[in-house]
């Protein structure tokens, strides 16, 4: 760990004379301040403790009980709830599989789509600005509105998708009613919903690239792909890292979109971890639902950490 040179110098000056064996001597804090100053962060600490720390700790406690949510009686069951989730609950493992599949689909599609949009719409022409606004528009809608709009689009009888297909003589499908496809159609909705937001992140990155670099590359005879590879990508790589992390978390927690589009409870082919946890709470299994929530939290943390480790898109020094 590096120490700021200024801090080191200050410490050296105040800690003299040097002790004979520095390892054995406990360093005393040199700072003595008016205790009243420590009262200032207390409201913030209290809020964090009450609304964040306590509920989190309670969730951990519930997770090792069989509490049903309202009864006074409960038993401590150790890690049974965690074991049950992975070994005796195919609804949970199905939701987990669906969720991972959904995250993978959305992260790949949304990252690529928003990057392509950004590349096409970086220029500040009137048309580009209009199109940017158009693609950004879904972001300002509530997820419930988005769910209802797309539920209508996908409706096999009166929906827009099948109506359009019928005009060209094609019989449309059941979309959300087809268990093998349902998750893909919701992924399409999710990408439509959030790509505009990610496009803005990319546009900010692209607009920071000095034009001279492209001019120089063109003079050197670099083609468009070489320019992208050697100039554009290194500049937008940090943005990609943000986009991927944000999209991962967002896709894990697509609760409102799924419930809006698939109803409550969603059928098994559209059940993801957050909707499964909700169903478990509604089924009066608070202890088990708390354990599922902790697994969910760990899963997001792990996947986010993994993708940061694997992608390593932030150039060194940033």
């Amino acid at each position: 760990m590096s120490i700021h040179p200024g801090t080191a110098a200050k410490r050296k000056a105040t800690d003299s004379p040097a002790p004979a064996n520095p390892a054995k001597v406990r360093r005393r804090s040199p700072t003595r301040v008016n205790p009243a100053l420590y009262l200032f962060p207390l409201p913030a600490v209290a809020v964090v403790a009450f609304f964040l720390v306590m509920p989190t700790l309670q969730a951990f406690q519930y997770a090792i009980t069989d509490w049903n949510g309202f009864s006074a009686a409960f038993n401590y069951v150790g890690l049974d709830n965690f074991v049950r989730a992975f070994t005796k609950d195919s609804l949970f493992t199905n939701a987990l599989t669906n969720n991972l599949k959904f995250v993978l689909l959305v992260v790949i599609a949304q990252t690529l789509f928003s990057l392509v949009l950004a590349l096409l719409l970086t220029k500040n022409s009137r048309g580009s600005i209009l199109l940017r606004a158009l693609f950004f528009f879904p972001t300002i809608l509530s997820s419930v509105s988005v769910a209802f709009i797309w539920k209508f689009i996908y409706d096999p009888n009166f929906g827009l998708a099948n109506s359009v297909l019928r005009t060209v003589g094609v019989d449309g499908g059941a979309y959300l009613g087809n268990d093998a496809q349902a998750l893909y159609w919701v992924a399409v909705t999710q990408v439509w919903f959030h790509s505009g937001q990610m496009m803005v992140v990319y546009i900010a990155g692209l607009q920071a690239i000095p034009r001279e670099l492209y001019e120089a590359a063109e003079m050197d005879g670099a083609n468009k792909w070489q320019q992208f590879k050697s100039i554009t990508w290194p500049f937008v790589a940090p943005a990609t890292s943000i986009v991927v992390a944000y999209t991962t978390v967002q896709s894990f927690k697509a609760f409102d979109l799924i419930l809006g589009i698939a109803g409550n409870p969603p059928k098994a082919s559209l059940d993801i971890l957050s909707t499964r946890i909700y169903s478990t709470f509604a089924n009066s299994e608070f202890g088990y639902a708390a354990a599922q929530s902790i697994i969910f939290m760990a899963m997001i943390a792990l996947v986010t950490w993994l993708q940061r480790r694997l992608l390593r898109l932030t150039p060194k020094g940033d």
Binding site: L57, P156, N157, G177, K267
Partner: protein, 429 residues
């Protein structure tokens, strides 16, 4: 004031954090007992004044209840009733937590089945056995609100979860409205299909409404009346012959439901029926007002898909007693809440509610003036089975078992669908 070191300050914050952690590790539920939810004592007597919160999920009935509230307030000086309406899904998931404090839902409604059971176990209900209200109900319809010897809730509505039929289309197609057995039912569907109609509009994409057909399909197939409770307990299995037979009958329905039925939500299904494109809507009489609202002008009756081969089934239909009214044991205004429930249970007021909302009620001596209710009233006298799907107390089990029927409609074999459902049941035994 003396100064403290940074270490002392950190120690102080640490102690606070430890205190918070210790507080967090108190028993789940904080005080461990819902405040004031003390179980089935009779609602306290007293003056009928003050504000009563009436919690329920039927937003579509708001205007009707508003009118009834006006009439109630005119009878009792200084009383006020406020409706606290949630969507049915939210109500199912959150009502218990909202009501246990007593500030919301002095009077309230619950769904039959798992929700009623949870409320009972949580001690939210008060005993209504000796109330004025209970005397107004048809005795045979009160069982859904009973727990042991106690009458905790009053099932206010009587609904028929059976397909509604457009009688004009049936006439035009020359189809039989009361098929005696399964073959006759399929022949009826065939006639409707031959007339260029969709025989059955079925909202397979909506778990709650799509599942209502299950009540009819299982009624005469199962060996016992508490078949769903026994499936949940592991005494009966989805892989049993009778259940597979029922799923095979669902398979028979494949050609008679609208294309892509498993992706159809309830509103489009209602539209197919209201617009005269489908001859039946496989939800229930609780959608009468909705389809009228969508412009349906034709006469409506109910059709029971009798699954027997010889027409000698135990039941001629299915019904449900729901919207179970109760008085909150944690309420601080129980006297007024009980008076409100008494008021709703008077035949005149129950009749107003029924005729305005197109819902039959369990209250006796009600005069039905609504033409739809009048036409469907004979069903109140028929031998109908109490809707079986509400016997499930575990919602995961219910959804899995009902999903087996949806899977069959979408093309899965009955055996495979049954095995998949049984796997979920086994995991929850």
């Amino acid at each position: 004031m003396s100064q403290i070191s940074r270490r002392q300050a950190v120690a102080l914050l640490g102690a606070l954090g430890f205190g918070a952690a210790a507080a967090a590790c108190a028993g789940p539920g904080g005080s461990t007992k819902p405040a004031g939810a003390s179980g089935p004592a009779a609602p306290s007597a007293g003056a009928v004044t003050g504000k009563v919160s009436f919690a329920h999920w039927r937003g579509e009935d708001k205007a009707v209840f508003d009118e009834l509230i006006k009439r109630f307030a005119a009878k009792h000086d200084g009383v006020e009733v406020a409706q606290d309406i949630s969507t049915s899904n939210d109500y199912n998931a959150q009502a218990l937590q909202k009501l246990r404090g007593g500030s919301i839902g002095d009077a309230f409604a619950t769904f039959r089945g798992a929700q009623f059971k949870n409320f009972t176990e949580a001690g939210i209900y008060t005993e209504l056995k000796d109330s004025q209200a209970v005397k107004n109900y048809q005795k045979g319809l009160l069982s859904a609100g009973q727990s042991g010897d106690s009458q905790l809730g009053l099932p206010y509505q009587v609904v028929f979860p059976m397909p509604m039929a457009n009688l004009d289309l049936f006439d035009k197609a020359g189809a039989e409205i009361a098929p005696k057995n399964w073959d006759a039912f399929l022949a009826m569907c065939e006639k409707l299909a031959s007339a260029g109609l969709i025989p059955i509009s079925w909202p397979g994409g909506d778990v709650g409404n799509g599942g209502q057909l299950f009540n009819c399909m299982i009624a005469n197939n199962a060996p016992v009346d508490d078949m769903c409770a026994q499936i949940e307990q592991g005494k009966l299995k989805c892989t049993d012959d009778w259940f597979i037979k029922m799923l095979n009958q669902y398979k028979d329905l494949r050609p008679f439901v609208q294309p892509n039925a498993t992706g159809t939500a309830v509103e489009p299904a209602q539209n197919l029926f209201s617009q005269g494109k489908a001859a039946m809507l496989a939800t229930g009489s609780y959608h009468l007002a909705a389809v009228r609202g969508l412009g349906a002008k034709f006469p409506i009756d109910l059709v029971f898909p009798n699954t027997t081969s010889d027409g000698k089934g135990k039941y001629e239909g299915a019904y449900n007693a729901t919207f179970i009214l109760g008085v909150n044991s944690a309420s601080k205004n129980q006297a007024a809440a009980a008076a409100w429930i008494d008021f709703l249970s008077e035949p005149e007021n129950a009749g107003y509610y029924a005729n305005q909302t197109a819902q039959h009620v369990a209250v006796d001596k009600v005069e039905y003036t609504n033409p739809d209710l009048k036409r469907l009233s004979p069903w109140l006298q028929k031998k109908t089975a109490l809707a079986a799907r509400f016997q499930f107390n575990n919602l995961d089990v219910r959804n899995a078992v009902e999903a087996s029927a949806t899977a069959v409609i979408s093309g899965t074999s009955p055996e495979q669908a049954a095995a998949a459902a049984q796997k979920i049941v086994d995991e929850r035994l």
